[in-house]
């Protein structure tokens, strides 16, 4: 593909994003709440689009397509497990988080933990922990863009990731959550429409319709339609960390704070659910299509690039823009959320304008760190990303414990720390005790420690402090 044409298309998309960010800036007032969560004024449709674009990264069009190519319907199941778990968790937890956020003027997930457990140290600890776990995940998005631009347009890798860095910083810093959420809406649109057109084009030109396509799958690739083509323990090991993504990944859990009202919050969940289902089924079918067209490829990550070289250039450009948009929308949301966590829990607090400047500086540092990490082109980036989702699972008991009267801050800190250590040790050694994947052990260990320590402190009057901890806020259960 001609380099100039690719850069021109990227330039048009970037210009559109800048225009959107300019108008977003005009609507953004002063203060941390305005900058980081748009003053809780985001409508349902925008909230759904930013939630979707933040969630679904280039992993879908590159990783999931490749995974489906290799293991078939099990990849579909893995992604659907994530989707149904997220929707159910949001239906229950999102209204509670939203109301707690409003009532106690909470901007970031770490701040919620800090205020509930009454521990400044916990807020800082969770912030740093989330940062460490998310850097690899951010880096792999840069890497994806780098390889895509290099493969499709011959742009040197370093320049490609530098382009991504500039785009991400522009969209994020310009107007905070508003520019991120509004540009995410554009990006979600591009992601979705480009992938739909690609699937429909390939089905029509290669198979003459869906019936013929499904017939080909059943006749020639029966194995791909068997769920157990992916080893069962691997399926569980990959699925479990992602099941709690909505609570453990701060860039999505922060979006439980941004909705204008309960109706907007509900519409966010519904919109995300519909988007997620359709996008997932489209992407998975691309994997099946690829397998039918190119049955003997060894590397799954190159499948999407191969598909794009077999469609008209204009369609390839559109899809390529959708993939870049998916990566950018994920990274800028993570950078913004981590920036807010550092701004609130490491800076002077919500009242000071200096906190926003500090937050912006952190966004800059975080994004550049991920960029630098991606320059290493570490072959273990994918493994590091899977490890990061498993590591973040260690924070799940702390967030769920917000609604359990017996939970304690010490249990939160220790369960997260030990859960993280378990993740790193098991992934780095490759050890799978009893055949269970590291993510599963992280969940078991962190949950067990959290529950047992909390109960021990509750019934013994506090293990470390000798008295019952007085918590800062009281999100006791509602009428249900």
């Amino acid at each position: 593909m001609n380099t100039l044409i690719v850069l021109s298309v990227l330039g048009i998309w970037f210009a559109a994003g800048c225009l959107i960010s300019y108008f977003a800036k005009r609507k953004t007032g002063r203060g941390l709440t305005e900058y980081f969560i748009a003053n809780r004024k985001i409508g349902g449709f925008i909230a759904a689009m930013t939630y979707s674009a933040t969630t679904y990264s280039s992993f879908m069009m590159i990783g999931l397509v490749g995974m489906t190519y290799a293991v078939g319907v099990g990849a579909f199941g893995f992604e659907i497990t994530y989707l149904v778990s997220t929707v159910l968790l949001l239906l229950y937890f999102a209204p509670k988080f939203w109301e707690l956020g409003k009532r106690y003027d909470v901007i970031s997930p770490a701040e919620l933990l800090r205020k509930y457990y009454g521990s400044a140290f916990l807020g800082k600890f969770i912030t740093i922990y989330s940062f460490l776990m998310l850097i690899p995940y951010m880096s792999v998005q840069f890497t994806g863009i780098g390889y895509l631009l290099k493969g499709l347009a011959g742009i040197p890798y370093v320049y490609a990731v530098l382009i991504a860095l500039i785009i991400i910083l522009t969209f994020t810093l310009w107007a905070g959550m508003r520019s991120v959420a509004w540009t995410d809406t554009l990006q979600a649109f591009i992601m979705f429409v480009s992938s739909v057109i690609l699937v429909l084009f390939l089905i029509r030109t290669r198979f003459n319709g869906f019936s013929a396509f499904f017939g080909t799958l059943e006749r020639e690739h029966t194995g791909l339609l068997s769920a157990d083509k992916i080893p069962y323990m691997k399926f569980i090991g990959l699925s479990i960390p992602w099941m709690f993504f909505a609570l453990t990944n701060p860039q999505v859990s922060q979006r439980m704070f941004i909705a204008r009202d309960r109706k907007s919050l509900k519409n966010m969940i519904l919109g995300f659910a519909v988007f997620g289902f359709l996008y997932t089924i489209i992407v998975v079918n691309l994997g099946f299509i690829a397998r039918s067209i190119f049955p003997a490829m060894e590397k799954g990550d190159t499948i999407t690039s191969l598909l794009l070289t077999n469609v008209p250039v204009i369609l390839a450009l559109f899809v390529f823009t959708g993939i870049v948009a998916a990566s950018v929308s994920t990274v800028n949301s993570i950078a913004l959320t981590l920036g807010s966590m550092f701004a609130v829990d490491f800076s002077g607090g919500q009242q000071k304008h200096g906190s926003i400047l500090f937050g912006k500086a952190v966004i800059l540092i975080i994004t550049i760190t991920a960029f630098v990490f991606s320059l290493g082109r570490f072959n273990v980036i994918v493994e590091l990303s899977v490890m990061s989702s498993a590591g973040l699972l260690a924070t799940a008991p702390s967030y769920i414990g917000l609604f359990w009267k017996k939970s304690s801050k010490n249990a939160s800190i220790v369960s997260t720390l030990i859960g993280g250590i378990v993740t790193v040790v098991l992934y780095s050694t490759g050890w799978k005790p009893l055949g269970l994947w590291p993510g599963v052990w992280t969940g078991i260990v962190s949950a067990a420690i959290f529950v047992l320590m909390s109960l021990a402190e509750y019934y013994n009057g506090g293990v470390f402090n000798g008295k019952q901890e007085e918590k800062g806020i009281y999100p006791e259960s509602s009428s249900e």
């Binding site: 239906l91 229950y92 399926f235 699925s239 006791e476 249900e480």
Partner: protein, 59 residues
């Protein structure tokens, strides 16, 4: 004490029942189905659609 948090879109008992039920069937039934479009593939189409339909009815 602060006033109670308004209710979730689904009740606690229903959430726990649904979550556990959905995960139980999700991690079992597809692996028992034959390798056809009407097997695990269709299952993983129907399951999320059911959850989404439920979401539309939640208050």
């Amino acid at each position: 004490m602060d006033s109670r948090i308004k209710k979730s879109f689904i009740g606690k008992r229903l959430f726990i029942f649904l979550y556990l039920s959905v995960m139980l069937v999700n991690f079992s039934i597809p692996f028992l189905l034959p390798p056809r479009i009407t097997g695990a593939y269709l299952f993983w189409v129907i399951l999320p659609l059911s959850v989404i339909a439920l979401s539309f009815t939640a208050e």
